[in-house]
Amino acid sequence: MGRVEFVGVGKQYGDSGAGAVQDVNLTVEDGEFLVLLGPSGCGKSTLLKMVAGLEDVTSGEIYIDDRLVNYVKPGDRNVAMVFQSYALYPHMTVRENIGFPLKMHKLPKAEIDRRVTEAAEILGLRDLLDRRPEQLSGGQRQRVALGRSIVREPAVFLMDEPLSNLDAQLRVQTREEILKLHARLGTTTIYVTHDQIEAMTMGHRIVVMRSGVVQQVGKPQFVYDHPANTFVAAFLGNPRVNLQTGAIRLEADIARFEQGEVSFALGPALSAFARSAGDGAEVALGVRPEDISVEHAGSRKHEHDALVKLPATITLVEPVGSDLYVRATTGTMEWMARTEARLPVRTGDEVTLMIDLTHAHLFGEDGMNLEGAAG
């Protein structure tokens, strides 16, 4: 079991608001892999530490399996944590490190040995059991830290940016290992990261946070496709989403988006949301770079009513191998397009941008997605 509930959870440090958390309401289901995502200082680690008991909760209640844990000592909460620094005890061997929580919970020696051996087996640490942390590589230390948390068979795993000290290749590999481990043990996991790739690939659901406030909770793809506000839209996705500010012009059956000299129709779906904002409303239009391409001889021709064609001048071409990032300007608008690699374009070329608004979003003046407001 391992159900974690946050009821109006807040954290305040003295009078300043730094690192604080405000009114978090959330249920982490048993067996779920939940990712807390956000820039540094957004309060995600604080939230995790409140579950662990390393930080006091200043308001609200946290439940683990229906038990109020606000005032339960960290060691009695039945949670295990993997730290960014791994926090292995330097003076103990791998075996002693992994067995330490069991020893502290006064398990019999034979049982400790059995569980340590089992964990070492799962994590491929069998040959390293008598080494000390300083003799291990970063990846091995990471696995010892995982081992120390799984032997306890806790209700919840808490992981605080566990991959950020690994190099890129090892990070991908360890990511898979953690997912395999989760599939095998099925233990509820709350995972903190600032890396959107980790969040997208690992989380059953992700929680996007900013300045201590939860911005959005949902399945990774859903959050990506339906960002609640401009912050979430901009935080997820690489290169960043194109956000153009402009005004709505309502016409008989369609809405137009207008910025300076440039103006175009928004297509039926967006028009419905635009209508709810009203004529002349200031909005931001969000278009993902992958929904923009540069028209060329091989472009797929099927036009539809959510496709906008704009003449533009290319200002920057960045090949990243698999894709080509193209920056182009139209009037006062600047667009980033993610197009197919090897497209023969150069800086200064006059081209036509094909902007597909099917997955585009309109954000109101408060930054909130209008599709939410329209219901």
Partner: protein, 292 residues
């Protein structure tokens, strides 16, 4: 270990033109060091030599560096006629007890100041810092009166207790412990450790170098302490080494040979301890304790 490695790392490719200057520089360094060591140790040489001289040859002029007829008389004399072993034992009991108690007490307080949250922490630590400035010598009179009221004159406790008040160890320990990553104690907290278990099983093993520094420092201070034992001890059998050795001189004539033998014997234990533990002294550990 690694001495050559470090030398190489410092200057991987000595420029050919500067090679001569480089070796001159090295020579200068060693000349300075040898002179300094010579000055530091010269008086010791004199004392060692004197301790083997017979009373007859003591005042030959000019003095000989090497005794003509080396004799162990002075040592025999010291050990047979004076309770030297008793003094040595007393010094060990006092310095050892103060050191052992201070290591425990100061590391506990240091842990609380470095890692725990409680009301009044910063104010209390400021008091500790302020009290570093209190000279023990100024508290001689009231401390004497307290120890006398407790009936502890001429006792080990009377010698030990006042040595435990000094807060410098708390300060050092706090600096050491603060430099340990908080993740470690947090991990231990989650692993089910009580605060005392964290202290005992995680903090203490990790500050061993700091404990050695504080231990050696405390032991040496107590071993060489003179003013307090002089005041609190009046019975010869409770005298510590410093007071005992001093009492050899308090008669009208000074027996140089006897005094020298006593000096050598009373320093031998500390020199051995220091040489054995000195590597801990550097290891950047004192520096760690000094960072504000």
């Amino acid at each position: 270990m690694g001495a050559e490695g470090r030398a190489l790392a410092r200057d991987p490719q000595p420029k050919p033109g500067r090679f001569g200057g480089k070796s001159l520089y090295t020579i200068a360094i060693y000349v300075i060091l040898i002179v300094a060591v010579f000055i530091s140790l010269l008086p010791f040489g004199y004392v060692v030599s004197t301790s083997f001289k017979s009373t007859m040859s003591l005042f030959s002029y000019p003095p000989d560096w090497l005794p003509e007829n080396p004799t162990l008389d002075n040592y025999r004399n010291l050990l047979n006629r004076y309770p030297f072993w008793r003094w040595l034992f007393n010094s060990f009991v006092v310095a050892g007890s103060v050191t052992a108690i201070k290591l425990v007490v100061d590391s506990m307080a240091g842990y609380a100041f470095a890692k725990m949250r409680f009301p009044g922490r910063d104010a209390l630590f400021l008091v500790v810092l302020m009290s570093l400035m209190v000279p023990f010598a100024a508290l001689l009179i009231p401390t004497f009166i307290i120890i006398r009221e407790l009936g502890m004159l001429n006792t080990y406790w009377g010698l030990i207790l006042p040595g435990l008040a000094s807060p410098i160890g708390v300060f050092m320990m706090r600096q050491f412990i603060e430099s340990l990553p908080s993740d470690l104690e947090n991990a231990a907290r989650l692993d089910g450790c009580s605060e005392f278990q964290i202290y005992r099983r995680v903090i203490l093993p990790l500050i061993k170098p700091g404990l050695v520094v504080l231990g050696v420092f405390t032991f040496m201070t107590q071993w060489t302490s003179y003013l307090w034992p002089l005041v609190v001890v009046t019975k010869p059998e409770m005298a510590t080494l410093t007071v005992g050795v001093r009492s050899l001189t308090s008669t009208f004539t000074q027996d140089w040979g006897l005094n020298s033998a006593a000096a050598i014997l009373s320093m031998l234990p500390t020199i051995l301890v220091f040489i054995f533990l000195q590597r801990y002294f550097i290891a950047g550990s004192i520096a760690g304790a000094l960072k504000e």
